[in-house]
Amino acid sequence: MPGASDTRRLRALLVAALAVAGTITAQAAPLTVTVSDDSGKPLADAVVAVLVKGAHTMAAPGASAQISQKDRQFHAQITAIQTGTPVLFPNFDTVRHHVYSFSPVQKFELKLYAGTPAAPVVFDKPGVAVLGCNIHDRMNAWVVVVDTPVFAKTDAAGHATLDVPPGEHLLSSWHARLPDPMVFIDQPLKMGSAAMPVGVTLALAPPT
């Protein structure tokens, strides 16, 4: 569960993004994306993003994100951010963690630290990074970096709602259990001026 300050920050970020979008197209309409697996079961914690032509790919300055470590777990375990967003890794546990990523999107290593490291890690390339802790093998987290401000994580019912201007776009979907979780599943999206729903079906690897 994101904390209240997280929500606030996210809302501020969204407001900022919308403000930018609003500058491009005033008549954006909500797009409701429903993600399900190939058996039709809704998928939570899937990330959907719409690459809007002409929109900024890099995050606006000041944008940030945070993945905390508490109770020897990452929070949240799946975090979607826009490219260029700096991410903070505060450690709320009494033990130290050694957070690392060997993912090509962003390789980094936060060696045994406590509290919040001073410098955030900036994810400046789109893609997926897998985070682990060298101390605790069972800790892992995903950072999904997209080149668009229009993205969301599906809720428990597999729904996510995006404000998308009319036009032809690319809808990228991702889920941790994709056969290659390092790659997005893209599909074209033709958005009208009115709100519309779209269904995304993802073929998942069998649970391990």
Partner: protein
């Protein structure tokens, strides 16, 4: 030892011993054999179970060793997979560093191969120059075409057993695999042998093909020959390697399409059984010692039983052979001793009984003389001796007169004592040294006279008779004893004891019946002899065919010299034998009863002659002898009367002469008959007076007319004064009783004169005339010139 063996093998003497020893040893051996078999069975069972258990345990140990190897390998691979630096190197795509890390880790644990593959099992780095074979193993594992790791921790690499493990590398998601492996080395068989004392060989084959021993381990060469011994089918089997028996268990370790790899675990059966073999050997030694001890013990026991039994058996054999005199001797204190005592009492009993039986069988219990059986035996022996010596041997048989009468009147006890006295008297003095007296039964005695011919026997018989003449004094009774004696002589009268005795008996009966005292056997006496049978039929023929002749001997009145009559005698004119003397057939006729026919014939002939002479003017008396049988014939008087009436004969002209003994056979009946004859008017005469035993008191009661003095006295009176006195007294006695007296046997003038002087009434004898055929009689009477006047004066002085 050889002595014992000999005794054991002597079947007759040692049969029981042998059986006892055999029984003991047999039982012992049976028990030992049974336990031996049972123990051997259980040893085999145990050994087999033990070996099987060891082999099963060995398999478990082997599997544990292999999985332990795999475990170590896995640990090493996992360690590498978790190393941050290693993962960093993977993330960094640093090929050389990766290879170094793999080599480093492989060297640490002695793995021969280490390689890293990405998440899709594509080779990233390897320590091998040619990683392809191992890589294909890794890929095959990933695709699941190989079986589970724990079941078969062994892979096949170039036909060799190879252990391989693969662990994932996560960062933190799966980024690849580390695989490590090594071929199975000599360490494994060595470890197996250390841990379980099982030998081990690694073997391989193409599926369905023969096993080959892989050259791994120190014993690989040694176990090379195992391949040919193995039968592919079974998991457990027994093989023989270099003369040693092993039990083999084949543990399949793994395989691929072309190869199958297994471990052969070997346990030496000989080694497993070795401790038991020692036990069996000990048991065998104990058995052998037991056999020897039992053998000796049972032999000694058997000896102690059989030795007294054998002694008993020998004693019993002696008893069986008739030796009752040797006592039983058994030195033993047990049941056999009891048996020996029973045998001993049996022996003495048998001895006594045999003596008694012998006594009863061969001795007369009353007189102590030999009995008939012994006498027959003796006689047989004497006859045999006589036969071989060519000398005669006689047997006398004598039977007391009137013994039945003595028994009846004076009692049997008295009779028995009398017999004892007689026996004593017969034995005393009269007989020769070699003669033997026996009592045959009742009042019958017999005497065997070796080396005695007919004549000697006759002399001895007379002596015996004389010795009996002295009356026997018993309880104030003086008993007159007399006996008839029969004599039969070997070889004239028979060659066999029984026959000889039988003939002596026959002669004895003849002697008794004709009062002659002593008789020698004659075949004529023997009515059963072939001669007698033919004699009887010939006699009948003689009557029927008119072969009999009537002879007459004149009876002369001594005082006047006149012929008064004649004694009728019979002669037999046999057609072939000529004239048969009366002694040859009269006694026989008396015995058979034929005498009655003869008597009838005589009466008829005399009647005829009487009438004939009457016709010539001669009025003569005829004297006819009556036998005992005639006298006892109830019908005699009637028959006589009929004949006399028929013949027209005056009964007074017929004189019937009867011997004393004929009357004495049955005095009562004789008296009746005589009285009836007397009643018919017949004259009656006592014949052979002086030889019998008739008492005067009895004679007095008979209706007699005449008394005939026996010729023995008459013939002897001329020389013997005693006989002369008897004749004189007899004549006086007869005259006093009113009887006329006839003297027989007058053979010379002197006798005639004496008789004349003694006032004898009539005389008969050769001096006057021999018996003559009847038809000559009339002629003789005509020519008769009496000498009485002349002789009366010549011999008058003799009679004083």
């Amino acid at each position: 030892m050889t002595r014992i063996l000999q005794r054991l093998l002597d079947p007759l003497a040692r049969r029981l011993e042998l059986r006892i020893v055999a029984l003991f040893l047999g039982l012992l051996l049976m028990v030992q054999l049974a336990s031996f078999v049972a123990i051997r069975h259980s040893i085999d069972e145990n050994a087999r179970t033990q070996i099987a258990t060891e082999l099963r345990t060995g398999e478990n140990v082997l599997r544990r060793l292999l999985s332990q190897n795999a475990q170590n390998l896995t640990e090493a691979a996992r360690l590498l997979a978790q190393d941050f630096g290693f993962r960093s190197a993977i993330a960094g795509g640093d090929q050389l560093t990766l290879v170094d890390a793999l080599e480093n880790q492989a060297a640490r644990i002695g793995a021969s191969a280490a390689l890293f593959t990405d998440a899709r099992r594509r080779l990233v780095a390897s320590t091998l120059s040619d990683p392809k074979p191992v890589l294909s193993l890794v890929q095959a594992e990933a695709s699941g075409s190989a079986a589970n790791l724990h079941d078969t921790p062994v892979r096949v690499l170039d036909g060799q057993p190879f252990q391989l493990v693969t662990v994932p590398v996560k960062a933190p998601q799966l980024i690849g695999h580390v695989s490590m492996g090594f071929p199975l080395s000599a360490d494994l068989p060595r470890d197996m042998e250390d841990l379980s004392s099982l030998k081990m060989a690694l073997i391989a084959r193409a599926p369905g093909g023969p096993w080959k021993v892989l050259p791994i381990g120190a014993r690989a060469d040694e176990l090379q020959s195992l391949a040919t011994e193995l039968h592919s089918a079974s998991v457990s089997q027994n093989v023989s390697l270099a003369g040693e028996n092993d039990s083999v268990r084949i543990v399949r370790l793994g395989g691929d399409a072309t190869h199958e790899i297994a471990a052969a675990l070997l346990r030496s059966i000989d080694q497993a059984v070795a401790p038991y073999r020692q036990l069996q050997l000990t048991l065998l030694v104990i058995t052998l010692i037991g056999v020897v001890v039992f053998g000796i013990g049972s032999f000694v026991t058997a000896r102690s039983i059989t030795r007294p039994i054998k002694a008993l058996s020998q004693s019993a054999e002696r008893l069986g052979a008739g030796d009752y005199s040797t006592p039983m001797q058994v030195n033993s204190r047990d049941e056999v001793h009891e048996l020996a005592r029973s045998f001993e009492s049996m022996r003495t009993g048998m001895q006594q009984r045999e003596a008694q039986i012998l006594r009863l069988a061969y001795w007369d219990s009353l007189t102590g003389l030999p009995n008939r059986a012994q006498f027959i035996d003796l006689l047989k022996a004497r006859i045999e001796r006589a036969r071989s010596g060519g000398e005669p041997c006689s047997v006398l048989m004598l039977d007391l007169d009137r013994f039945k009468h003595v028994n009846d009147v004076l009692g049997h006890a008295f009779g028995d004592r009398l017999l004892c006295q007689i026996a004593q008297r017969l034995n005393d003095g009269v007989l020769r040294e070699q003669d033997v007296v026996a009592r045959l039964g009742g009042d019958e005695f017999a005497v065997c006279l070796p080396q005695a011919d007919d004549e000697t026997a006759g002399m001895i018989a007379q002596r015996l008779r004389r010795s009996l003449e002295q009356p026997v004094m018993l309880d104030d009774h003086a008993v007159d004893v007399s006996a008839g004696v029969g004599i039969a002589t070997f070889p004239a009268h028979g060659g066999d004891a029984e026959v000889l005795l039988g003939r002596a008996e026959m002669a004895m009966y003849a002697a008794k019946s004709n009062q002659s005292g002593v008789m020698h056997y004659d075949s004529g006496l023997d009515s059963s002899s072939q001669e007698s049978l033919s004699l009887l039929s010939e006699l009948r023929q003689a009557v029927d065919h008119d072969q009999l002749r009537l002879y007459l001997q004149p009876k002369i009145a001594l005082c006047s010299g006149l012929v008064l009559g004649a004694e009728a005698l019979v002669r037999w004119q046999h057609p072939t034998r000529g004239l048969v003397p009366p002694m040859r057939f009269i006694p026989f006729a008396e015995q058979t009863g034929f005498i009655r026919v003869l008597t009838g014939w005589m009466i008829e002939r005399c009647s005829a002659r009487y009438r004939h002479l009457q016709g010539q003017g001669l009025e003569l008396k005829f004297s006819i002898n009556l036998s005992t049988r005639d006298l006892l014939d109830q019908d005699l008087p009637a028959k006589l009367e009929k004949m006399l009436t028929h013949g027209g004969v005056d009964p007074k002209a017929l004189c019937l002469e009867i011997t004393e003994s004929a009357i004495m056979d049955d005095p009562q009946r004789a008296l009746q008959t005589l009285q009836r004859l007397h009643g018919m008017g017949l004259r009656l005469s006592i014949d052979d007076f002086g030889t019998g035993y008739s008492s005067l008191a009895y004679l007095k009661r008979l209706p007699l007319h005449e008394l005939k003095i026996d010729q023995s006295f008459v013939k002897a009176m001329e020389h013997d004064r005693a006989d002369l006195k008897i004749v004189r007294s007899t004549i006086d006695l007869a005259h006093n009783l009113g009887l006329s007296v006839v003297a027989e046997g007058v053979e010379n003038a002197q006798t005639w004169a004496l008789l004349q002087a003694l006032h004898c009434d009539e005389a008969q004898g050769y001096y006057m005339a021999r018996p003559m055929p009847e038809d000559q009689f009339a002629g003789w009477v005509d020519g008769w010139a009496s000498p009485h006047e002349r002789l009366r004066t010549e011999f008058a002085e003799l009679v004083v």
